[in-house]
């Protein structure tokens, strides 16, 4: 598994969407997230990753979120 796109959300806000342009992989890849927030993600179109920041576990702002799109598709 490799990372095809990645980035950091600096100073994320709760209940906010963040969109990022990513390569079109032709399938829904596994996305890895790091940080203290609960997050959800979706692909509203083939080249957009949308991360929804749901809450901050610690209640303190400023803890960044790391995201990484892999080239691994979700296997069923």
């Amino acid at each position: 598994m490799q990372i095809v796109a990645s980035g950091v959300i600096y100073g994320p806000s709760n209940f906010t969407d963040y969109d990022f342009t990513v390569p079109d992989l032709g399938f829904s890849p596994i996305v890895l997230l790091g940080g203290s927030h609960a997050c959800a993600y979706s692909f509203p179109n083939a080249t957009t990753l949308r991360i929804r920041v749901l809450n901050n576990a610690y209640g303190a702002g400023g803890n960044n979120i790391t995201w990484a799109v892999t080239n691994q598709r979700i296997l069923h």
Binding site: M1, Q2, I3, V4, S6, G7, V8, P23, D24, L25, G26, F27, L32, L33, G34, G35, S36, H37, A38, C39, A57, Y58, N63, N64, I65, T66, A68, N71
Partner: protein
């Protein structure tokens, strides 16, 4: 036969079967040295059976530029059953049922809240309404991945 592999000054690439590696986009590459790599950095287990409001800090062996990708998993140490897993942030709670000799029933609640910063795993463990029994021994298993983003 379609060219599947290139190794030159631009790097090393392998395409999917049927795709020319010289023209294939990211969707059709099985491997590219342009992509980032995940690497195992640190693994361990931490007991989570204390009752404190402040978070305890378990520092990594280094500070990352941003919070690393960390897989967290809850383990019931009494039966070695592995339960919920999550990346970066894991929250779980459970209730037990306990009836004392006087017939009063208690539902002690145990909450474990874990999250990741650029330099540490932070863990809060709380249990309440538990006058007579302690929560079972739960552990947090963590795997930290290093990366080049």
């Amino acid at each position: 036969m379609t060219r599947r592999m290139v190794f030159d000054s631009s790097g090393f690439k392998v395409s999917k079967p049927g795709y020319d590696v010289l023209t294939a986009g990211p969707a059709n590459l099985q491997f590219s040295s342009d992509f980032g790599q995940l690497a195992h950095f640190q693994t361990g287990e931490l007991d989570c059976n204390w009752n404190e409001s402040p978070f305890r800090t378990y520092s990594f062996a280094k500070t990352f530029p941003s919070p690393p990708i960390v897989h967290l998993q809850q383990v019931n140490a009494s039966n070695d059953v592995w339960e919920a897993g999550a990346a970066g942030h894991l929250y779980w709670e459970f209730r037990q049922t306990y009836t004392d000799l006087g017939g009063t029933t208690y539902y002690p609640l145990h909450v474990v809240n874990a999250y990741v910063t650029a330099s540490a795993i932070m863990i809060q463990s709380l249990y309440t309404d538990s006058p007579a029994i302690h929560p079972p021994l739960y552990r947090l298993r963590y795997t930290v991945m290093d990366y080049n983003l």
